[in-house]
Structures are given as structure tokens and as C-alpha cells.
């Protein structure tokens, strides 16, 4: 029973990591229909930002790196959006292949810049230790995830720019005819979505080493969270991330790590039988 209860915090912290990653995806995928495979590499960029910050911030690098990583990853996303993705609206599947090419280049770039072996980012002293089965660093990640969700929620619902973003998500053409500059909104969206990937990357440095392939371990699961949660729905992403995190850790507990992924996949396919468009759906009369 105790081993069973120990899975709970593990599952929650996996959920928090997934949520941090999926938060950015649900914004870019949900609003713009862009399947950004390079999202994983923006995570990696955020993690390396924390690594570089160590030079002058020492062990507090993780904290200093949070805003810096947001900016770095956000700018990378902005450049990607302006340079390429902009031309791909209405061809969502092509963005997947395009951004995968970008992700290959970024991974190799990281290998050339930082070397192929993994590097470590030292966590601040005050994050060592923990309460019972819950280490402080995992708690910190959960807090970060909750904070990020709150910030995104506030942005979407309390600022004019955020409301414009929601308008574009719900009906791009109608938003455009109502005077919303959808191009600008897209830029903001991509900046914020990618920036959140950078924040997730910093969080990941707390629980493992940093390497050029860091993003690839999480990206598939994060996309599943978005699919299960419903496109562009914040609440859906939160619930889906927590449930998938728990499901992952309990499936691993009952079977083993290799079967867990298969179980999660099967559960999602079965779930889609009941809710083909995910937990929460934006209702519309549009045909497809």
C-alpha cells in the first residue's frame, strides 16, 4: 500500500512536467493548427539556457534562467513562425514535416555547440531534500506548472491581446473580419507557446541531465495530452496531463515501464471512442 501511495506524487510530478510542455503546444497547436515538432528543441534550448546561466548565476541559475529561457525559446519560435510556418497555414500536416526538419537541424546544432554528452545543471541548495516521498524539486515543478497555467489563463481571459487570441482560435475568419490583425496574433501566440517550452526546459534540468535529444523524450507524450485534452483548451490540457501522468506511473507500477506506454496508448484510443475531439470541445457549426 505504501509503495502504491508513493506512485501518487511521482504520477503528479510527471503530470506537471507534461503539463508544462503541453501548455505551449496547446496554444500553438490549438490556435494555429501547427504541429510543432521543434517544440521539443525549444525545451532543449531552455535547458541549455539554464546551463549557460550557471557561469554567472551559480546555483541560482535555475531561477534566473526562467525568464531568460522564456525569451530565448520564444524568440526562436518567433523566428520560426515568421520565416517558415507563416506560409503553411491551412496545411497543418506539412508543418509537422517542416518543423521536424527544423528540429533535426537544432539538435545537430546543439551537438556542435555543447557537445554530444549530457551536461548537468546544479539545483539550488534550497531545493534539496523534501517532504516524505516528495522531493522539493518535484514540488517546485508542480508549483511552476500551476503558476504557468494561472499566467496563461490570466493572459487569455484578462488581457485584450489574450482575448484576441481566443477569438482567432474560435473562428479565424470571423476574427479577421472583425478587425483583429491575425498575423500579429499568430506572432504573439507562437512567441508565448514557444517561450513556455523554454520554461519547461528549465524545469527539466531539475530532474535530469541535459542533452541534445532532451526534447524528443517528452514530445510524443505531450502531443497526446493535447489530443486527449481537446485542441486549445486549457482546462482539458490540465486534466489530461495529470491523468496521463498518474496513468503512466501507475501502469509502470502494476506492469513495467515498457508496457506502460502501450497501456497509455490503448487507453487514449478507447477514450477517443467516447470523446473523439478530446475532453473539451469548442462547439461550432463548422463542418470540419
Amino acid at each position: 500500500m505504501e509503495a502504491f501511495l508513493n506512485q501518487l506524487p511521482i504520477g503528479l510530478s510527471i503530470g506537471a512536467v507534461l503539463l508544462l510542455i503541453a501548455l505551449g503546444l496547446t496554444i500553438t497547436f490549438g490556435q494555429m493548427g501547427v504541429i510543432n515538432m521543434a517544440h521539443g528543441e525549444f525545451i532543449m534550448a531552455g535547458a541549455y539556457t539554464a546551463y549557460l546561466m550557471q557561469d554567472w548565476a551559480g546555483r541560482q541559475a535555475v531561477i534566473v534562467a526562467l525568464p531568460a529561457a522564456f525569451l530565448v525559446a520564444g524568440l526562436m519560435g518567433l523566428i520560426l513562425e515568421r520565416a517558415a510556418i507563416r506560409r503553411f497555414y491551412g496545411r497543418p500536416l506539412d508543418t509537422l514535416l517542416l518543423t521536424w526538419g527544423v528540429s533535426l537541424v537544432l539538435q545537430q546544432l546543439a551537438r556542435d555547440l555543447f557537445g554530444a554528452p549530457n551536461v548537468q545543471v546544479a539545483a539550488p541548495e534550497w531545493l534539496q531534500g523534501g517532504i516524505g516521498a516528495l522531493p522539493y524539486n518535484r514540488l517546485f515543478i508542480m508549483a511552476l506548472a500551476i503558476g504557468s497555467v494561472a499566467a496563461v489563463w490570466a493572459y487569455l481571459n484578462r488581457t485584450a491581446q489574450g482575448r484576441r487570441m481566443q477569438a482567432v482560435t474560435q473562428n479565424r475568419d470571423l476574427a479577421a473580419t472583425s478587425g483583429v490583425d491575425t498575423g500579429r496574433v499568430d506572432m504573439h501566440t507562437f512567441f508565448i507557446g514557444s517561450g513556455l517550452a523554454g520554461v519547461a526546459g528549465v524545469a527539466l534540468t531539475l530532474i535530469g541531465p541535459v542533452g541534445p535529444a532532451l526534447g524528443t523524450y517528452y514530445i510524443v507524450d505531450a502531443f497526446l495530452v493535447v489530443v486527449a485534452g481537446g485542441l486549445g483548451r486549457l482546462g482539458g490540457a490540465v486534466i489530461a496531463a495529470v491523468v496521463l501522468g498518474l496513468l503512466n506511473s501507475f501502469a509502470e507500477f502494476w506492469t513495467d515501464a515498457s508496457l506502460a506506454k502501450v497501456i497509455v496508448f490503448a487507453v487514449i484510443v478507447v477514450f477517443l471512442q467516447f470523446r473523439p475531439q478530446g475532453l473539451f470541445v469548442i462547439r461550432s457549426r463548422a463542418l470540419s
Binding site: 506560409r87 500536416l93 517542416l98 533535426l104 537541424v105 545537430q108 551537438r111 515501464a257 478507447v270
Partner: protein, 359 residues
Amino acid sequence: MSITTKDATAGTARRAPDGRGLRERLGGPAVFCAVAVLALVAAPLLLEPFRLNLLAKYLVYAIVALGIGLAWGQGGMLTLGQGVFFGLGGYSMGMHLKLTEAQGGLPDFMVWSGVEELPALWVPFADPVFALATAVLAPVALAALLGTLIFRQRVRGAYFAILTQALAAAFAILLVGRQGLTGGTNGLTNFFELFGHDLASDSTQRGLYLVVAVVLGLLYLGARHLVNSRFGRLLVAVRDGEDRVRFLGYDPATVKTVTFAISAGMAGLAGALFVPVVGIISPALLGVVPSLELVVAVAVGGRYALAGAVLGAVVMGYAQTAFSERFADGWLYLQGALFILVMTLAPRGIAGLLSRRRA
């Protein structure tokens, strides 16, 4: 109801170029015969065994690409999980080869990982007919099941792509984790003979090459026939306007499921051929990345023409060998840059460029 009306109705929405003009040029009878002669006569005579073996590998990948061309190019289903079907075929064949070598005993890797009794899953694979049939039928069955579940609920587009990708990831992890059953990360390797033929000999490899080339040729003809049939028209119509096809009284889910299952069967057969040609099957050959690489090869070749898919697989396979022989790291930059360029500048791939120039 005539086919032309359906086609026209569905086409008014967003008619994607179907490469039909190109298929007549690139895939016309004369070109097909020329390529066939080149592949069946010239290549075995002119190429040294090492190069011929590499070509056989590219042609095996071309079989998978042909399936992707059907599912994605014609049917609009972006499948990122072909590696799973390829792997099912490959492991079926690999298990058979391992068992013939063990001659009633245990395969070598099982001995190393401390397995004492042959797992029940392995037992029927001693029979070559069972192994070959499973290589094709297991992928078909899995794809049919998955297709039924997914397409019936009208889950499509990006969702389908993500689901198939997740399947590929889960499958690779499962194979790695089941060390005693699958050989883990190393996969199955060290094969010595196939149906009584020594795999190391040049004549066996030449024979294998010919088998692969003939299978590819036949599948290509079959796929072309399918695309030009009533069913093929319906498939393209589903791609261009699924809802309209449904309103006309057809069932798009069935059309998509059947096509997906066919493409899975092709990938499975390719996997079974891959094992004797290359001599290994392992999780690294069928996870997320290899599955995506083949889709990109199809995009580079030209997704709307079946010949483009085949061409793309061969060209990308050759490019990878040629470039990684010279500068290993540069290949990833080149590959990435190539995708970006193709997707932005030539979304219809090489085939699209060729047909535009001639038009």
C-alpha cells in the same frame, strides 16, 4: 451514379494536385519497362555485391514508401507509425531465422539473457509459412483494428498523425523492454541462412535483390491499378472532401481503413524482406524517427504520385549513404535543410518539379 460526378463534386472544394499527368509520364508503360529492365538486368550485372545489397535495401524502403504514398498521398492519412508495421514484419521473419539457426534449441540472445524455455509466442514461427503470413497479416490486422476505432469516430488529420506516432514510440519502447523475448535494444541479428540458402553468399544476395525488385514492381502495379479504380477515385475524394463523400452515401471510414490496412501490409512485407537483406531488425530501425524519415522521403519524391514515393525512398536512401560516408554529422544538417526547402518551395516534391517543367 457515375464516378466522374462524384469526383467533380469532391474536387471543387480544394483540389489537391493528383499527379495524374505525371503518373502517365513517370509511370507510363514505356518508362516502367525501362526501369524494370534497368533494375532486373543492368543492376545485378553492373553493381558490385555491396552496392547491389544497398540498392536492395533502398528498394525495401521503397515498398514502405509505396504504402505511405497510398495512405497519405492518395488518402490524406498522414501515418507516422509505418515503422510499427515494418517491425511486425521484420520481427516475424527475424524470429523464424533465429529459430532455424537454433535448430530446436534456444536462440543465442535468449541464452545470454537467461531465458530457459522457448516462449510460447515464438513456437509457431519455426514454420516459414506461418512466419511469412504473420509478417503481412499481423500488420494488416492491427491497422484494420486501429483504423476502425479511429476513423469510425471521425478522428482524423493531425490527431491521426499524433496517434500513429505515439504507437510507434510505444512499440519501440515495448521491444526494448522485453529483452528476453525480443532481444531488447540489439534486436535480432546474426542470421546465417534463409530457407537453406547461405545469407553471406553473393548469389543468395543477388537472388534476394531480384525478389525485392520483383515484389516492388508487382506491388507498384497493384497500387496503380487500385488508384485508377473506382475505389481509388473514392479514396482521393475522401482526401479532398470527406464530409461530402459521406453525404453522397459512402462510408469514408471503410475506405480509409482498407487503404490504411493495405499500406500496413506493404510495410510488413517490406520488414520481412529487410531482415535477410540487411541482416538485422532492431527497435532503432522502426521507432518514431525511421517512421518519419520515410514519410519525408515520400514528401521529397512527391506524395501525389506513386512513382514519386518510390523515387523518394531510393533517392533519400542513396543520399544518406553517400553523405554519411563522407561527412557523418553534416548529413543531419543537410537532411533537415532539405525537408525545410522541399516543404516550403516544392510541396509536391521531385515528381511535382518534373511534371511542372514538362507541362
